[in-house]
Amino acid sequence: MPSRRLLLLAATVLGLLFALEVLCRVQPEGLAAVAHRVRFKLALLHEKGPVDFVALGTSRSNDGLSPSLLQLGTGFSAATPSSSLPTLEFQAAHLGAQKRVFVELSRPQGDPTAMDADSTPAAGSWAGDPIGEWLHQHSALLQVRRAFALENLPRVLGLLAASSLDGSEWFRSRQLVETFRPPSPPEGVADDAAWRPQRFEVPPEPPELDEDGARVLVGYERALASLKAQGARVVLVGPPVGSGLRAEECTPERNRLRHTIALRTVTPLLDFTCAEVDDRWFVDGEHLSSPGRAKYSKALGDAARALP
């Protein structure tokens, strides 16, 4: 019966779309948490309940920090593999009241990735498709469509078991690489002395910042003000990097920028960027491996406890 087959095909396509649209309207927050990595981490923290400290940052902090190893009480890693100012500002605004927050201080990408980068296309790309644009603006399903990606579905389980998680279990994209690499560092690496935050002479009058530096400063000022307004004690953190990246990040100009941000925001800074740690602590020269994570987490915990 061709009419029945056609009806069945149309009902499947339209019915599925309609059912999912309804689901997305009934459960917008839950699906948004599954769709977006940043929202997911925040939802996970919310479900977990009060903690003693939260770490915010990019993939360097996401891969480099294990909250339990900091020995500062219960912690949560809300860091995600994103490195944009809008992401940081969004996280800061939605983190809720926290006792202590570690905020990674690295130079965010020049072309910031917006919050909804893994969602629907930007409105401008709908030129010539008015119905598509209307759907883009009005469909709840299109806003959270990535919630239905197979790799995001395990986040549902994460939200259900949030109380037993500390956020560091998610998004370590280099886990597979770590599996195939020998544990690092091999015996003989003795760089314990390097694992401490650096101090720099800061000129009494911080120099003028270039346009990009000013953009970064403004972004951090907003994010930190938002966190402090919610009652958090904020600590800025510069994670360690391998020698290749260190040559780019640990320059007088970059050092000045980081320290200027700390000065202007009146926030303590634990800066490991120039720490001359061995490259073998890293998976790829930028992201710490599992032993590197343990080493850095302990070093950061020690430094944080020493803060007045």
Partner: protein
């Protein structure tokens, strides 16, 4: 208007309903013609005038050719059509070459460049109408008497901008026949539209995001990502053009019309010659019938036949775009086909799978100059393929999708057929449709034009 835009999909659904509700065949044709003009002018309305002018000129030429079988008139018709193609598509390229040539001999030329606007699908409808004029001249078909039928033949939106290149003898008679409404045909059409949409948005565009990025910065690619880029592009190009063609065939079916199939598992070909009977079939047939045979085909000396093949492939390459990379691509295809001819006896002893593997990799490698945005980028990509460090990050999604799509070619081609809509079990059809919608939602990429729109 793009086939995979919501506006198009909603509009075409309404159009199908109106088409079949129209009581007279003539009204249906008028609807098709008007909607084709809207479709074509959606992005750039002045293009419609070029289309209308082409319809009027070629309709008249066809009638004249029938009444007076003149080689000069045919040459005039072919030349006038090619001149528009040359102006809009190759004008800037030709001027650039002229300026470069002048600079080479120390002369600074100041030649005005033609308008940058290129009408969509001009390569496709130029070839379609040249075939029509030649067929009329050869008395293979009569000149079309109805201006409306000819206008629909020339402008039917499903195949206007990226083929398949339909021939008068297969399409014009269909436009004269008033076929009865048949749900089974619409069911087949809807199945193909869904499959084509999935291929385009769910496969081609997703891979395209990665491929485009890789070609933008080829110097940053590790050896693993350079190799993934070339395989992903092979998958993207097929999914894109096959997806478009599948949607075109499906859309035509919804209006009771049959368009030729353009792809037949091309990466399963056991030789490059075989490949060209499976890839963009309507273009291959066109080049054979109207260029290769006109040059003398293979009924000439061996050397001349090889030359004919070289010219056909080089011009076939140039048809794809105004750039030397396309010519190089065509010439390399011709060269490999000559090599296949020379080694024919030797290759006959090979198992078929070996021929398929070798041909597939030749095709993949020859796509590199085809895709390269510049000769410099081509050189960079080739060097990254042989000497580059291993990137620590390989995008898993792209790798899995590329591998899955390329390995599953045979079952995919058996699934994406109009007749499969009849033979699939209802439960299997529902499950496949639901899976496609699901994957489109979850993974479908931001919209991009069909790659072949620019050819």
């Amino acid at each position: 208007m793009l086939f995979h835009s919501a506006t198009f999909l909603v509009s075409v659904t309404v159009l199908v309903a109106l088409y079949w509700l129209a009581p007279w065949h003539r009204v249906r044709l008028q609807l098709l013609f008007l909607s084709s003009l809207v479709f074509y002018g959606w992005r750039h309305w002045p293009s419609v005038f070029l289309l209308l002018g082409s319809i009027a000129v070629n309709y008249t030429l066809g009638r004249l050719l029938e009444s007076r079988r003149s080689k000069a008139l045919l040459a005039f018709g072919v030349t006038i059509n090619l001149s528009f193609l040359a102006y809009f598509k190759y004008g800037r390229f030709a001027v650039d070459q002229l300026i470069s040539l002048g600079a080479l001999v120390g002369v600074e030329l100041e030649v005005p460049k033609p308008d940058a606007w290129m009408p969509l699908g001009i390569s496709f409808f130029t070839f379609q109408v040249i075939a029509y004029l030649v067929d009329v001249y050869r008395k293979e078909i009569p000149a079309e008497r109805s201006l409306l039928v000819f206008a629909v033949f020339k402008s039917f939106f499903a195949q206007l901008v990226a083929g398949p290149i339909v021939r008068g003898k297969e399409f014009l008679p269909q436009l004269h026949r008033a076929v009865p409404f048949e749900l089974a045909r619409i069911h087949r059409g809807a199945w193909l539209v869904l499959c084509g949409l999935f291929l385009k948005v769910g496969v081609a565009d997703v891979l395209g995001d990665y491929v485009d990025y890789a070609w933008k910065f080829p110097e940053t690619l590790g050896i693993n990502n350079a190799w993934l880029t070339i395989y992903a592009y092979a998958a993207q190009l097929l999914a894109d053009f096959w997806g478009y063609s599948t949607m075109a065939v499906g859309l035509a079916l919804c209006f009771g019309l049959t368009l030729p199939v353009n792809f037949e598992n091309p990466y399963g070909a056991s030789s490059l010659r075989d490949f060209w009977t499976r890839w963009h079939i309507t273009l291959s047939v066109w080049l054979r019938d109207y260029l290769y045979i006109s040059l003398g085909g293979n009924r000439v000396s061996r050397g001349r036949a090889a030359f004919n093949r070289l010219v056909t492939m080089a011009l076939g390459g140039l048809w794809h775009g105004a750039g030397w990379n396309y010519v190089i691509w065509g010439v390399l295809h011709a060269a490999w086909m000559e090599l296949e001819l020379v080694t024919q006896t030797f290759r006959a002893r090979w198992p078929k799978w070996l021929g398929v593997v070798i041909t597939f990799h030749v095709v993949v490698f020859l796509w590199i100059p085809f895709r390269a945005p510049s000769l410099a980028a081509l050189g960079t990509m080739l060097s990254r393929l042989v000497s580059a460090p291993w990137d620590i990050n390989t995008p898993t999604q792209t790798a899995v999708m590329t591998l899955g799509f390329l390995v599953l070619q045979k079952p995919l081609f058996s699934l994406v057929r109009a007749e499969r809509a009849d033979t699939l079990k209802p439960l299997a059809e529902v499950a496949l449709a639901a899976a496609m919608v699901w994957l489109l939602l979850a993974y479908g990429s931001a919209r991009q034009d069909f790659i072949y729109y620019v050819f």
